[in-house]
């Protein structure tokens, strides 16, 4: 039978398998961390897995998000993941949620699951997961990656610390895997460790990484564990005030020039300067009037690619002569 090789283990057995079947996990972000976690959790027979992601598969995802393939490019990750995982295990319930996690929907979704697995790539959503988990009483499995390093911990588990107990103050700027580069195996390893924490929590086996921050360096092979104490005031603050929105904002260095940001509204970091106009690439044609056509406008996106397309399109099709592409992307124009 399907689960024979894990039921043989003392920590699982027939009763453990039953526990897995009766459990549910919401995976927020089905990317570099979320894909491997989802694959192993689906394989293990977790009864219900929510797959939440508002993003679509792109070719630059494939080196690390190996659940997806070339035929899936341009398709919603949540739907593709559900379809593939259902073929891996037809006995479990898979729920595709093609939405971003927001302050408005977080508690509603979290209420429907036992555990939350963080597969996100930005501080705003990590704080949001943290706060919504405190309010709904759900443990969550955190991980994040910077280049060749990873961090993993379990928060809000049996009176243990929360993410705000580890990092009460967020960074002013964040750096995504897209911006820094990452080996596919790095989030892969972290995502699998997150899946292992899920299994340990459900089975009541081993030592859960609650109150512990595990640090991994893929290049040196060194792993270290730091101890985190709960800061009750951080937890009580959320219980009293509800979700506290965290915004990672930054400003452009040059306040005298005019900028056009063609990224989507959810992209990080958000630029909050008065001399920046925000119009996503796909909406430019409908909002031409908002673009100045005399003074020089510097057009930017994350890497410089989409903004180059924007500049070429606005020049060729709409006659703009005052636009200049920021070749190096957002990192080259903001305060670090």
């Amino acid at each position: 039978m399907r689960y024979d090789r894990q039921i043989k283990l003392d920590v699982v057995g027939i009763s453990g398998q039953e526990k897995l079947r009766n459990s549910s996990v919401l995976i927020v972000g089905v990317g570099g961390l979320g894909c491997p976690a989802a694959q192993y959790l689906a394989g293990s027979g977790i009864g219900k897995i929510g797959l939440m992601d508002h993003d679509k598969v792109s070719i630059t995802n494939l080196h690390r998000q190996v659940l997806y393939d070339e035929f899936n490019i341009g398709k919603p990750k949540a739907l593709v993941a559900k379809e593939k995982l259902q073929r891996l295990n037809s006995e479990i319930e898979l729920v595709a949620i093609e939405e971003a996690l927001t302050i408005e929907n977080a508690e509603m979704f979290f209420d429907q699951y036992d555990l939350i697995l963080d597969g996100t790539d930005n501080f705003e959503t990590k704080f949001l997961i943290n706060d919504a988990c405190i309010l709904t009483g759900k443990p969550w499995i955190y991980a994040s990656v910077y280049k060749n390093e990873g961090q993993i911990s379990v928060f809000n588990y049996q009176d243990g610390p929360s993410y705000r107990c580890l990092f009460p103050k967020t960074a002013r700027q964040e750096v995504s895997c897209e911006a820094t580069g990452v080996l596919g195996v790095t989030p892969g390893i972290l995502g699998m460790l997150q899946a292992a924490e899920v299994l340990k929590i459900i089975l009541g086996a081993g030592n859960v990484l609650s109150g512990k921050l595990k640090l991994i360096n893929i290049l040196t092979g060194i792993e270290q564990i730091m101890n985190i104490q709960p800061r009750q005031e951080e937890i009580e603050k959320i219980k009293k005030q509800g979700i506290i929105p965290v915004r990672i904002d930054c400003e452009v260095r040059d306040t005298h020039k005019i900028y056009l940001d063609v990224r989507e509204a959810f992209e990080q970091p958000k630029v909050n300067s008065e001399n920046v106009i925000h119009i996503p690439l796909g909406s430019l044609q409908q909002r031409l009037r908002e673009i100045p056509n005399r003074e020089e406008v510097l057009v930017f996106c994350q890497s410089g690619k989409r903004s180059r397309i924007a500049v070429e399109m606005l020049q060729k099709d709409f006659g703009f002569q005052n636009l200049k592409n920021v070749e190096g992307g957002i990192e080259t124009i903001i305060d670090g």
Partner: protein, 78 residues
């Protein structure tokens, strides 16, 4: 007295090292060491950086000979 400092993530890049041993004055507090190193290397976003002393996340403590101080930045990639 000697203390070992370990740097992680972008802090290690800014300092261009993952570890160093420093000879510091007796009675130095962890937060003072943090300020020193932040100034020395120009570590960005110091408020977000957390310290772990001998693998415990604390910073309001006086350092002792042989202590290991980790500089931990938050990061969010995934």
């Amino acid at each position: 007295m000697k203390v070992t400092i370990k740097y992680f993530g972008m802090i290690a890049e800014t300092a261009n090292k993952t570890e160093e041993v420093l000879d510091v004055a007796q009675g130095l507090w962890a937060m003072e060491l943090k300020d020193m190193q932040i100034k020395k290397y120009g570590i960005p976003d110091p408020e977000a950086v957390q310290l772990a002393i001998n693998r415990d996340l604390i910073s309001e403590v006086e350092l002792k000979e042989g202590d290991e101080v980790a500089f931990l930045p938050p990061f969010a990639g995934g």
